[in-house]
């Protein structure tokens, strides 16, 4: 442990949660060492904008979430493009991929989520992509042309934004959604139907109530995608498949450390995990949802930033309670603007549903 770098605040994750924490710490503590580690090599960028990058070649400099001098100006050290491989909570250390050891006093886990890989035969073939990071968007961008046919597994937020981006590039897209409607986690049935109609009007094929069971190649020994098979046996020719059934918390680091996890890393109203020196925020954390009034995963950017901010304030000693977040999303596909928040589909009859529709306006 002699050669370990010592820092006061170690933030694992260089996206909304990590930056929210770093900014909050600097409001309270101007000098304590802050180190941000991320396995991505980019300075913090706006992850939701990867769809715009893919759709229209949105310039990278406009995707930056903070100005280029953000890190030096706030006296924040970084180790980007370097992965934390081991966390030792008893000794307050982490080990990086390149063997370095870092000793910390307060730790934030803002490691985000990783794409859920569906259990589909052939999912490792060439032409199968996730769509979470800028590198994913770059890989897809290089792969596709206006001759490409794509199948997107999952009609949620990621799948729909990817669909809209690919359509802009002239790609022929088929969305395969397991449930009865696309965007079913964040929209009610009536609104989902409007969203579906909008996709269909823009040339997208939407298949609901089905799953992809197999990704095929033209011949044995060929490892490139040529078609998918659905659960009813239907075959859809395609060159590309995208996995967009959601993200799961990247909580591997804490496994075996005694830090409490449920679906994600469980945090209290101060964003503290079951260990008082370890905090978590963002997609990896299961934090308070103010609508459900219980801890839930709400993997959206605003909650990651605010949770990170609250964690940072508490790490630096300014005790602050997390007001809670909830699922809330604003979408904008093919000119259709949608916002949604909280509970969309009531659990039982004790809720009153108010809705109004006139033409294409639905409230």
């Amino acid at each position: 442990m002699k050669n370990a770098t010592k820092v006061k605040y170690l933030l694992i994750g260089n996206s909304a949660g990590g930056i929210g924490a770093a900014e909050a710490i600097r409001e309270v503590d101007k000098t304590g060492t802050i180190l941000i580690i991320s396995d991505e090599s980019y300075p913090v960028y706006s992850r939701p904008l990867i769809a715009k990058y893919l759709a229209e070649g949105y310039p990278l400099e406009k995707m930056l979430y903070r100005p280029t001098d953000f890190y030096p100006k706030n006296n924040i050290q970084t180790r980007l493009g370097n992965k934390v491989t081991h966390l030792d909570i008893a000794n307050h250390t982490v080990r990086l991929e390149d063997g370095q050891e870092i000793q910390w006093q307060k730790l934030l886990l803002a490691t985000g989520g990783s794409p859920i890989i569906p259990r589909v035969d052939g999912i490792t073939k060439k032409g199968v992509f996730p769509f979470i990071t800028l590198d994913d968007a770059k890989a897809i961008d290089q792969f596709v042309s206006n001759q490409t046919k794509a199948v997107i597994i999952g009609g949620g937020l990621i799948g729909t934004s990817l669909t809209a981006a690919l359509v802009e590039q002239g790609v022929e897209v088929t969305v395969v959604e397991m449930k009865e409607h696309i965007l079913n986690a964040i929209l009610d049935d009536e609104m989902s139907v409007i969203a579906e109609a909008t996709l269909i009007q823009n040339g997208v094929k939407v298949i609901t109530g089905h799953t992809v069971t197999k990704i095929n190649s033209r011949s044995k020994g060929d490892d490139t995608v040529s078609q998918v098979t659905l659960n009813d046996g239907t075959r859809i020719p395609c060159d590309m498949v995208a996995m967009a059934i959601g993200v799961r918390p990247r909580s591997e680091l804490v496994s075996g450390t005694g830090v409490t996890t449920n679906r994600g890393i469980v945090v209290d109203r101060y964003m503290t995990t079951s260990n008082p020196d370890v905090y978590a925020s963002g997609d990896v954390a299961e934090a308070y949802d103010l609508v459900y009034q219980e801890n839930r995963l709400t993997p959206i950017w605003p909650n990651a930033y605010l949770g990170g901010r609250i964690a940072g304030l508490n790490m630096a000693g300014r005790i602050t309670e997390y007001p809670g977040g909830t699922s809330m999303n604003a979408m904008n596909y093919f000119g259709l603007n949608i916002v949604s928040a909280g509970i969309l589909i009531p659990a039982d009859d004790s809720y009153e549903v108010l809705s109004q529709r006139s033409g294409f306006n639905y409230v």
């Binding site: 706006s46 904008l49 406009k62 979430y65 605003p302 930033y305 999303n329 604003a330 904008n332």
Partner: protein, 159 residues
């Protein structure tokens, strides 16, 4: 910092605040041109909420803890730590409308021509914001933060 005091009990809902907000944020700065010729027309950064007999103008409160800034997906919305003013770097606004969803006062407007948001900047560079200066009835006043009076107290005093 100075903030805009709203006084609902003396607002007559004339809408001049909106007119002068548009004028202030226009290209031509000419009242006739703005409404007759300028295209695209500037969006008013504030709106008069009305349900007779109640009316009041509401614009960005420039919250210390700003939900819109925390929700902004691109970093375009920022609160200046020195002045306390919440502004949008319009070049970096992606028109995702997440801030509109997050704002507790519903004061962020859509500029549909640009596909971006429009919000109050307290008329940067002006000593008194245009809406305040042109309110005929002092339903909007520009006062130091610590002299802001809550609406309920104003109502009590008025009755």
């Amino acid at each position: 910092m100075k903030r805009i005091q709203i006084n609902e009990s003396v607002c007559i809902g004339c809408g001049l605040c909106e007119v002068y907000c548009q004028l202030e944020h226009s290209q031509s700065k000419d009242l006739i041109k703005v409404f007759k010729r300028e295209y695209p027309q500037p969006v008013s950064r504030l709106s008069v909420e009305q349900r007779e007999p109640i009316s009041f103008a509401v614009q960005c409160r420039h919250c210390d803890e700003s939900p819109c800034v925390y929700a902004c997906l691109t970093g375009a919305l920022q609160r200046d730590p020195d002045t306390g003013i919440v502004t949008v770097d319009i070049d970096r606004c992606a028109g995702c409308w997440t801030c509109m969803l997050a704002c507790p006062y519903s004061v962020i407007r859509q500029d549909l021509y640009q596909g971006k948001i429009a919000k109050c900047d307290l008329c940067k560079g002006r000593e008194i914001p245009a809406c305040v200066e042109n309110c005929p009835n002092e339903a909007l006043t520009y006062v130091e933060e610590d002299s802001i009076i809550p609406q309920l107290q104003l109502k009590r005093e008025a009755s």
